[in-house]
């Protein structure tokens, strides 16, 4: 079963000692992963309406001993349906007007490995919700946290940062670029949060 197991699951699995129980757990993890990958959660409020509450770091440079920031796991990175919802929002809310299909224009490209304000889920969330000084509007009054998380996961999928199986294939429009599903994972060059 080539459905990807989510990291959390693997970590939990690693702590088990009994091989049998491990196997059983693997199976269940696979199952969960499968459900996760294909689930369609219409009616839920995802974690943290806005990550401002959580520690958010945009600079690698920390005076004194560096605080290790725990990354919020993007609730939808591994969910094909939510990522595609993120895509339709990305287009409907005119993100595509500036960033186009990831190549950029008025705004910077999103499909490359260069991230001005960080590639971590909560950093991307912040960029969308709070806006950024050089022309990025702040969306937090217009979009619900769930929607912003969906867009976050889609934006990350543009450079292949989320699991392949959850990314979009081509859409029914002009073929502008290879679909996210076949975009090579562009390891962020200058993503700032500790990884």
């Amino acid at each position: 079963m080539s459905l990807r197991c989510r990291n959390a699951g693997w970590k939990r699995g690693a702590r088990r000692t009994s091989g049998v129980r491990l196997a059983a757990l693997m199976a269940s993890v696979v199952l969960i992963a499968g459900c996760e990958r294909e689930a369609r959660r219409f009616q839920e409020s995802p974690p943290t309406a806005s990550p401002t509450g959580d520690p958010l770091v945009v600079s690698d440079l920390q005076p004194g001993p560096a605080v290790v920031v725990s990354n919020v796991e993007a609730p939808y990175d591994d969910n094909a349906w939510a990522v595609s919802e993120g895509k339709s929002l990305y287009n409907a809310m005119n993100c595509s007007g500036c960033h186009f299909q990831g190549g950029g224009g008025i705004g910077p490209p999103l499909m490359d490995d260069d991230w001005t304000y960080g590639s971590e889920p909560q950093q991307v969330f912040a960029s969308i919700a709070e806006g950024r000084p050089n022309g990025m509007p702040a969306w937090k009054f217009m979009l619900s946290a769930q929607q912003i998380w969906e867009i976050t996961s889609y934006v990350r999928s543009l450079s292949g940062l989320n699991p392949k199986g959850a990314r979009n294939a081509r859409d029914d429009h002009m073929m502008r670029k290879p679909p996210e599903a076949s975009t090579p994972n562009a390891r962020p060059k200058n993503s700032t949060a500790p990884r």
Binding site: R40, F42, Q43, S88, A92, M93, F141, M142, L143, S144, Q146, Q147, D172
Partner: protein, 335 residues
């Protein structure tokens, strides 16, 4: 037979309603219904005859032959000749009936295919999961954009231009006319002439995803003058709210997410992702024929649409109760 007679009764009883193919409200559907009844009666008769034909020999002879009885392989020539005659006769009758049906159907088909040169043109755009309605006009500033409700004049031929921007939907008003699919990449048309005022319910008839079940459309047939009056009203932009509460609601509408997806003519809201709300208060239903248009339903729909139409594109909106009340007050002014 018993059961079928019962069924027939139910069928006859079920021959009226605002979403019923056998309760015609248009010239076109009258002819279709006539065709249906003709075929139904003949079919019922054939079924009856066949049933009798095989039940008689079955019940006639209760005494069963012994299993190992040497089968009489050769029938008397006269019997087999009679059988041959019967079977070929029955076949001939079948062919004849089919031929009649065929010709009848072609006739009706031709009747439906012919339509007057000048017809009121309405463009219907299918979305997941709601209907966008454009009342065409040579003068662009007179085009009316509405949603989830289709108004037509009685006695005038109407051309519905069908367009889809996402998946295949199907337009079907049982009382007025049969189906026509809205297929991405194709623009097709369907014509009908309502001959009886009333409200008829249409529902998307091609599976189109999660909310296929809740993608309905009320078709309102007015007398011609009433229709043009209605159209004129629709052309008017939204009036500015008079009372402060509604005015406050307008502010909420513009500052909250609403105006990013919904348009209101005369207000700085031009969103095209969701239905146009310029005359929301005049509509009979909400969420594509899912809820009656009442204040309570509207509030519920705004706050938690996902429990009403799971998967719909409308997000749930966390609004201060104050703002919600004001917003509702404003939306109710959109007459």
């Amino acid at each position: 037979m018993m059961r079928s007679r019962l069924a027939l009764v139910i069928l006859l009883a079920a021959c009226s309603g605002r979403q019923n193919a056998l309760d015609p409200a248009s010239a076109q559907n009258r002819s279709i219904t006539a065709l249906f009844w003709a075929m139904f009666v003949v079919a019922a008769f054939i079924w009856f005859v066949v049933t009798v034909a095989f039940l008689v020999p079955a019940v006639r002879q209760r005494r069963t032959t012994r299993e190992d009885a040497e089968p009489a392989l050769e029938l008397p020539a006269e019997t087999s000749r009679r059988q041959t005659r019967l079977v070929s006769g029955a076949t001939a009758v079948t062919v004849l009936i089919l031929l009649v049906f065929l010709i009848y159907d072609f006739g009706v088909g031709r009747a439906l295919a012919t339509h007057p040169a000048r017809a009121l043109t309405i463009e219907l755009v299918g979305h997941q999961w709601w209907w966008e309605v454009h009342y065409a006009d040579p003068d662009p500033s007179k085009i009316v954009i509405d949603a989830d409700e289709l108004h037509v004049p009685v006695g005038q031929s109407v051309q519905i231009k069908l367009v889809s921007r996402d998946v295949i939907h199907s337009f079907w008003v049982p009382n007025l006319i049969g189906k026509r699919d809205l297929i991405p990449g194709y623009t097709s048309s369907i014509f009908f002439t309502a001959d009886r005022p009333g409200v008829y319910r249409a529902q998307c008839a091609e599976f189109c995803g999660h909310q296929h079940a809740k993608m309905a459309l009320d078709v309102v047939a007015h007398p011609a003058p009433e229709f043009s009056a209605w159209l004129e009203r629709q052309r008017a932009p939204a009036a500015d709210p008079s009372d402060s509460l509604a005015a406050n609601g307008k502010r909420v509408f513009l500052s909250a997410a609403c105006s990013k997806c919904h348009a209101i003519t005369g207000v700085e809201a031009y969103g095209t992702v969701g239905p146009n709300l310029t005359h929301l208060a005049t509509r009979r239903t909400l969420a594509a024929g899912t809820l009656p248009n009442t204040r309570g339903n509207l509030g519920g729909w705004i706050v938690d649409p996902q429990s009403i139409k799971p998967g719909a594109r409308m997000p749930s909106n966390q609004l201060e109760s104050r703002d919600l009340v004001a917003l509702l007050a404003y939306l109710e002014t959109l007459k």
